[in-house]
Amino acid sequence: MDNRSVILPGDPLPNCSAACPVHTDTRGYAEAISEGNYEKALDLLLQANPFPSVCGRICHHPCEKECRRKEVDAPVSLRMLKRFVVENTREYRRARRQRIEPTQGKKVAIIGSGPAGLTVAHDLALLGYHTIVFEQDSQLGGMLAHAIPRYRLPLHALREDIDDILAMGVETRTACRVGVDISLEEIRKKHDAVVLAIGLSESVTLPIPGSESEGVFPGITFLWDVANGHPPPLGDRVLIIGGGNVAVDAARTARRLGVGQVFMACLETPEEMPAWQWEIQEAREEGIEILNSWGPKAVLSRGGKVAGMELKRCTRVFDDHGRFAPQYDEARTMTLDVDQVIMTIGQRADLSCVKETELAVERGRLMCDSHTLSTSEPGVFACGEVLTGPGSAIHAIASGHRAAQAVHHYLQTGERLVLPREDVPSLGLLPQRVASLARKMTRREAALLDPRERIGDFSEIESPFNEREALEEARRCLACATGARLESSQACAGCLTCARVCPFGVATVDRTAAMPAEECQACGLCAAECPAAGIALKRFATNQMKQTLGEILAPARAVKIWTPFLVAYCCLYETTSRKYLKPQSLEEIEGSGILRIMVPCVGRLSSLDLVEPFEMGADRVVVIACKEEGCLYMGSEELLGRRVAHAQKFLKEIGLEKASLQFRQTRGSAEASWPAIWKEVQHETAPESEKESLK
């Protein structure tokens, strides 16, 4: 029953996972965090993506855009949770590294060490291939190392991911430019397959008057030089041409180099700008002035050096079919006095390495089939941005995974693998009628440094979540489709109890009960009340508790245990650290006489759950719920209260004393209030005989 939330083949994915190009088990890692199992969360992250540190910093997080919680209030801060995981599992991560022996007897060369290339190397190494990555630069990582500014992606974060990959035994040749230092043909001869993952490393230039002037920089070159510690000298006024993310990065980088006035000019209106809205917002906060709907007309120069820029009004960027087809009002112009101009209007591949090879190139693009990832030459594949065009790191990683599959297939069969079109069924929107009944919880945003402080240098501007923040945010996950399920229609008597207790109006009965997975909010109330005990919950089954109790209370061990022995069912949503979330050691349990059972909302405990510990040898049971009116699930508090009363009455009939089963609520934090509750319940009105054995 562990791994309850594991996605089975054919299951519709939660929207977050479906939206993620590598289908990270987002729901799974949010759940693992809320259970205090950060290591499991890391395992889940690494299963899908060898770059969790990078993505925790700079992923454009399509998962959040699709998060079903947005129907309730706002998406879960999934990227920040991912960042929390990697930052709190460093030691574990180092320890789990493993060298993989190449057992396939085949060698694969990968050209380019960006996220795409390194992902291919990672996947193929896992499959037992000998992999070698060729990189023209001295550093691995592609744009991650050279273009994305350090204030967003510090080098050490990238290093963590890359070190993992290298530890597997992936070989690298840095400062080796294919086409110059070694020919592609030579590489092909020495390897069984070759993957081109060379990205788009050149900036597109603009053939406008004055563009050759001194002080006009291609954006990528500019960022690359800054990243490598060779920033060009800049004046006090700099203009960036372009409205995409690279433009914003260039502008914010210039600002950090001490430029007093940084402008961005782009064709698009504010709404049309291709840069992420949050990037634009942050740039504005840093004092960058954005000139919308202005296109470049000419670079003005004085003595061969940039003196200013003439801009013309852009009246429309896209035609009626949404294609890029800018139109201008040539009569409306403006000039801007600037000392430098940085061009960030697009990127293209540097295909010099395939020159004088058989590989087909058409109109400056490498010919490659997007379904098989094959180039015109057998055994030569392409992936990442050179294939897909400009995108994001996580898309490049996804493309790397696909390429590894294609190469593996080719090396095993000699044939091309036609990769199926990615078409993942997802859960779809959370219906409004359900969403409106869910409790609203404020989304925690990443905390950014004050803009004035930010522009001082290239230090990272975003602070990570602390543990309390991460736990709180992880609990906002709706745990989509991990709720109730009718175990067998045979068990169902159609009694309607589930429908009557469901606070979300999700459970219905038509001959037998149905709890549609895409609507169920996983509160567990129906399962707790089902008189046929026929509803299972995908999350939290008490059988683990039974097993632990069984072990501890096995007669041979019982002598060592302090009595009275207390079983404490605690609402895990109240913890602010993993102090009490971590599994207890047997010694700890025996020493304290307290067994904690962390439950994602104690409202899901059935009467049997409340009574059974006594059968297994417990002397006391306490149910510690959340703070008053703090429950995620409407009605849960009331139903639980009644259930506890029912169980208390039953226990009394059996002959147990009144104090045996108690209901308490957390005050303040779990860490602050639980120990006192445990002690109280354990000792309160304990019969004399029991008291003697207490410490």
């Binding site: 309607l496 049997l608 039953f650 059996i654």
Partner: protein, 231 residues
């Protein structure tokens, strides 16, 4: 639906004091619906019995099992099997009285004890509340009374109008929870435009089809003793 209430714990426990291997048998139909004898209750009762006997240092085996209906041979067979195979020496059934009898008929020397008191045929008035609606008298007269039964729902089972204890439409036996059924019948007949029918005297009932006439049976010729099954 048949409604039942679980017996007090000590009474149930008392039945099996002298036994060793006990089976608690839940029933998956009526008593599940009225939350008194389904799988959840069977497990809870079994757990309670284990706790109680453990506390008295009595070492007993208590198992539980629930079948879809305890009033059909096919469904109870697995229970009978278990009793045999696991050397069960007493059965507590949480089914209605039908289940108790049905099992007892089939279990020879193994005693079968009732875990519930079977109370009535009733309906859910609101979630969690059941009310009696039929007494199974064997000869329905509700066509005369607007569909409302004066046998099941009148404290005195009066056939021809209310008694003096009908006050403001309530029954004097339990005015808070019980309406006077004759008030209900009156209102209903008015609604149906048949008030005048109540002037017809309802003769004394022939109680023979009820329990008074002896044990009742029903045969459905359509499926009864199919020849090809019993050559």
């Amino acid at each position: 639906m048949i409604v039942a209430d679980q017996k007090p714990f000590h009474e149930i426990k008392g039945f099996v004091e002298a036994h060793q291997n006990i089976l608690v048998a839940g029933c998956g139909t009526c008593v599940t619906v009225c939350l008194s004898g389904g799988a959840a209750e069977a497990r809870l009762l079994a757990s309670g019995l284990r706790i109680a006997f453990q506390r008295e240092n009595q070492n007993k085996t208590i198992e539980e099992d629930t079948v879809l209906r305890q009033c059909d041979e096919e469904f109870v067979l697995p229970l009978l099997q278990r009793v045999k195979e696991e050397n069960i020496d007493a059965v507590i059934t949480l089914a209605c009285g039908v289940g108790v009898n049905f099992l007892a008929d089939r279990l020879g020397h193994i005693p079968v004890f009732p875990g519930v008191n079977t109370t009535f045929y009733g309906a859910v008035m609101e979630p969690g509340l059941w009310a009696e609606m039929c007494s199974g008298c064997g000869q329905c007269i509700t066509h005369l009374t607007g569909g409302i039964c004066p046998i099941a729902r009148c404290s005195k089972r009066l056939f021809n109008g209310p008694c003096g204890g009908s006050e403001r439409g309530r029954c004097e036996v339990d005015p808070q929870n019980t309406p006077c059924v004759w008030q209900l019948i009156l209102d209903r007949m008015k609604q149906l435009g048949r008030l005048h029918d109540l002037q017809n005297f309802i003769p004394a009932k022939d109680w023979r089809p009820a329990l008074d006439g002896g044990v009742r049976h029903t045969v459905r010729e359509r499926i009864y003793r199919l020849d090809y099954k019993n050559p």
